[in-house]
């Protein structure tokens, strides 16, 4: 197939190649994979937040016709390894507690699985799960992280000396005396400061639950071992972990992430306990076994992030320059038993990201994480950083009000201006122009015009406000960060093959969930070879056919994987050029003398010397005689890409709101961003990532909240009680651009996937507080519920003398 335009594929809003199947109901999601003779699993989950299991009686369940088997935690713990294995443990010290996927002896949160039923279909499996009888002995429950950190708190784990699972300082160094010295220096700066802001900020437990829940379909073969299709962002890590847990050779484990996954957003990145149970049951029963998570299970067990408290202090001079920052964070990580992240890696990275895009030179930042009798914190897009973004962006607005400065000017004054910049917590900012993007945003929202409008509105009893926030977000995660953080490599890798017909296949070991890899990666390869994207196929997610990589996390697609595609293409083009030089006797020519365009390889110094791309591929792959000296036949290359240090993708965001002071309800009038994504591969895909990310931030900020009562009962396990934003709740987002190509990326791309929700709650809350400045309203907690806003208005009115 060929089209009129055969070069310049990068930068075009190409319609997606995924769409034809997804729009016609032919997607290939996990629940769509059909195998004959498949059994279904239903997990029996704890109805207590903390209790000793005195007895589990399966008899009544096993008598139900259609039930094939059942397993308890006690039985399972004798048959497979516990989940504390090296591949699932980060490389820094914390309390990593051994556990099995089904509770043994004790349950630690409402919803913890303690048995599994296998039946002929899901209806029967659910009947049987309801028939399981369990005797519990309730134990003391702790659901508040601050309470949990007190000496006299009940212990979640009675053999731990405290509920603190992890705690550290992010500033000053690694030795106690270095840290103490730094803390003293920071204290001295606070003592000299013109102004100090001290405020506690709290973000509620919420996350980005995808519309497709989790699941697994395991097939056991005596010949080949285990093949498991499962919802995951990192199939290769799942494979290593499953092999270790089931004591299989890695040669016997193949993990297939489905071609289509219904969203992930970090939620499908951890190693979850249910997967291994499904695999073990398939092996034990010798039949395919499937589990598709219900929404209730999902909301009880995963998608819970953001649960952090920050006691933030900012020292500044009269002009609003930040002199120093001090922060004491607390993370509520739930039970703290979950492969890869163990609940605390998110708040830990949140503390690292706290200084954001601001050039803060002095800080004292510490974090303590507590276990509680709640579901383990699991990651969500804007990993760990949404809470610290909220704290600092709100804090800086409060500081601006204290100083009588315009918040947009105060923030601009503090942005990083010289690159590369190493933040006080060690985050490497590679390049960019934060001030330029900031200015473009501020100009686009017409700040002076808005201030005039605001004054007019107030005179007529209407309250409108504007709020700003920004995010310096990771564009991929280098090994330099990922190896210590998660014990996994950060490199991007693809295997690229060109067949004798000139068709290109790209194999990547990641597992996208809607990020448009099949389209954008085909654009990149087509651009490099001067062929049509329809002649490029992208295959991902199957550990049997792809090179090992860490998965679709942290905006790694457009940053690391695309960079690997560019490098693989360069290597194969160089090889094709060497064959041209040999075959046409072009002594002295180099690879640079050839251009790849219009489906041909052309010698630029003599346009008559050209070969059709497919003909040259056929000659190299099939015509393996008369080879250039020292040259291999074939056109296949595996390329690894690694940036030495993190690359950053900057976003500046502004919200305009109107608040009804009688009800506390607010309307988002406008939401604008300015992005530095460097080189844009597909503009409409980038725009979609920003629109979606921002609305996730809005939904988190406005509605979503997992609630537990004092007994640890989870009260929000359906979409009525755990509310997501609908189309009617949110506006269109105006997406602007201020690109600076990334020098560490072969194409200059900065990847936009990860951080977009993070600045949103700060921008929205700042806009609300700006609107309500006459009442002195300063919101410090999320979600931004009307009753909370109304209470602040009323408190303000009372404080103002009514």
């Amino acid at each position: 197939m060929s089209a009129a335009v055969e070069t310049g594929w990068i930068g075009r809003s190409l319609e997606r190649r995924e769409d034809a199947r997804l729009l016609t109901g032919r997607g290939e999601y996990l629940a769509d994979v059909r195998v004959s003779d498949c059994l279904h699993v239903c997990f029996v989950r704890s109805s207590h937040a903390h209790a000793r299991i005195k007895d589990i009686r399966l008899d009544a369940a096993l008598e139900i016709p259609g039930v094939v088997g059942a397993i308890t935690g006690a039985e399972l713990s004798r048959e497979i390894q516990g989940q504390k294995i090296p591949v699932l443990i980060p490389a820094f010290p914390a309390k990593y507690r051994q556990y099995w996927p089904l509770a043994v002896d004790e349950v630690y949160w409402h919803g913890e699985p303690l048995a599994a039923i296998v039946a002929k279909d899901k209806y029967v499996a659910e009947d049987a799960a309801a028939a399981v009888e369990i005797d519990y002995e309730p134990l003391p429950v702790v659901t508040d992280a601050e309470v949990a950190l007190r000496e006299d708190s009940p212990r979640v784990y009675d053999d731990w000396d405290s509920n603190e699972i992890f705690g550290t300082s992010y500033t000053g160094g690694f030795e106690a005396d270095q840290i103490a010295k730094n803390d003293a220096e920071v204290e001295a700066l606070f003592a000299q400061a013109d102004v100090v802001l001290r405020q506690r900020f709290r973000t509620q437990r919420c996350g980005v639950c995808p519309i497709e829940t989790r699941g697994a379909l395991a097939i056991w073969s005596e010949t080949d071992g285990l093949t498991v299709h499962l919802t995951t962002q990192r199939p290769h890590i799942e494979r290593l972990a499953l092999a270790d847990l089931l004591e299989l050779s890695t040669a016997e484990v193949r993990v297939v992430a489905p071609r289509d996954q219904g969203g992930g957003f970090g939620v499908k990145a951890p190693f979850y306990r249910e997967h291994v149970v499904v695999c073990h049951l398939a092996r034990k029963l010798g039949r395919p076994v499937r589990w598709i998570e219900t929404r209730e299970e999902h909301l009880m067990t995963v998608s819970q992030e953001r649960d952090q408290i920050h006691d933030l202090e900012i020292a500044a001079d009269r002009e609003g320059r930040i002199l120093a920052l001090r922060n004491r964070g607390i993370g509520d990580v739930g039970d703290g038993r979950q492969g890869v992240y163990w609940g605390f890696v998110m708040p830990s990275l949140g503390s690292v990201m706290l200084p954001n895009a601001y050039g803060i030179r002095h800080a004292d930042i510490k974090l303590r994480c507590a276990v509680t009798n709640k579901a383990c914190m699991s990651p969500s897009r804007s990993f760990g950083a949404l809470p610290t973004r909220f704290a600092l962006e709100r804090g800086l607005d409060m500081l601006a009000r204290k100083l009588g400065l315009e918040t947009a000017a105060l923030k601009r004054r503090n942005l990083v201006t010289e690159f590369p910049f190493i933040s006080v917590t060690g985050v490497h900012h590679d390049s960019g122009n934060y001030v330029k993007a900031w200015d473009k945003l501020v100009e686009s929202v017409d700040l002076p015009g808005f201030r005039a409008l605001q004054e007019e509105a107030r005179a007529s009893g209407r309250y409108i406000g504007i709020g700003f926030a920004c995010g310096a977000e990771f564009s991929g995660i280098p090994s330099d960060v990922l190896v210590p953080l998660e014990n996994q490599p950060g490199y991007g890798v693809v295997t690229m093959r060109i067949d004798p017909r000139g068709k290109i296949a790209i194999h990547e070991g990641d597992a996208p969930q809607g990020q448009s890899h099949e389209t954008t990666m085909a654009q990149v390869a087509a651009d490099a070879f001067g062929i049509h994207p329809d002649d490029v196929s992208v295959r991902h997610g199957d550990t049997g056919t792809t090179p090992l990589s860490s998965g679709t996390i942290g905006a790694r697609g457009a940053s690391y994987t695309v960079a690997a595609i560019a490098e693989a293409a360069a290597a194969l083009k160089a090889k094709m050029a060497r064959y041209m030089i040999h075959d046409h006797g072009l002594e002295g020519a180099t690879a640079d003398d050839f251009s790849f365009r219009g489906g041909a390889v052309i010698y630029e110094k003599d346009g008559n010397i050209r070969r059709e791309f497919a003909a040259l591929a056929d000659r190299i792959v099939m015509g393996s005689i008369n080879l250039p000296a020292g040259e291999d036949p074939g056109l296949e290359h595996t390329a690894y890409f690694e940036a030495p240090k993190p690359m950053i993708c900057f976003t500046a965001q502004a919200a305009k709101v109107e608040v009804d002071i009688e009800t506390g309800q607010f309307t988002i009038l406008d939401y604008a961003t300015c992005e530095d994504v460097g080189t844009v591969i597909n503009p409409i895909v980038v725009e979609g990532q920003v629109q979606g990310g921002v609305v996730q931030g809005m939904s988190n900020a406005m509605f979503e909240e997992f609630l537990y009562d004092e007994n640890g009962q989870q009260l929000t396990a359906d979409f009525e009680n755990y509310r997501l934003a609908s189309a009617a709740d949110v506006p269109n987002v105006t997406v602007g651009h201020s690109p600076t190509p990334c020098p560490d990326h072969p194409l200059g791309v900065r990847a936009v996937g990860e951080g977009r929700p993070g600045p949103v709650p700060g921008a929205l809350a700042n806009a609300i507080c700006d609107a309500l400045a006459p009442f002195g309203v300063e919101s410090t907690t999320l979600p931004l519920k009307p009753e909370m806003i109304l209470a602040l208005i009323e408190a303000g009115r009372a404080g103002n003398g009514g």
Partner: protein, 171 residues
Amino acid sequence: MEKTITVTVNGTAYTRTVPLRLLLVDFIRDECGLTGTHIGCTYEGRCGACTVQIEGRAHKSCMKLAVQADGKEITTIEGLGSRDNLHRLQQAFSRYHALQCGFCTSGILMNAVDFLNENINPSEAEVRRALVGNLCRCTGYSHIVEAILAASATRHGLKPVPPPAETEPPP
């Protein structure tokens, strides 16, 4: 307890003996093998991923029993248009990048087709209100709204779906 029912799905009659408690969405997925209809909230009627048309009107198929569809005509996403002959709304969804993971898309399309049949020239606010029963986690909804508006604007005279306004090009 079981009952023998005949349900016509996308023009094909399926006669099956099914348990009374079998949900329509499971009938469509498991008995008819039409997996384009999805399950997102697991039978709460909240996410809308399972939306199909029964006798031409949008319904959430997780809120109905299969036996309630006995004798009825159902259209699922597989019956809306084919790869080579996409429905105008399907074309608009692709052109406006109104889907990312695609999991909610079938339900949104089946709802939106019904909506556009009743609303010839809707406003943006009307489209947003019409989507309240369909949750999407990827797109932030804007591109979906634009696609539906673009498809509606082309109803009269079946003009091609207009392309989206140019997103700002990098300088």
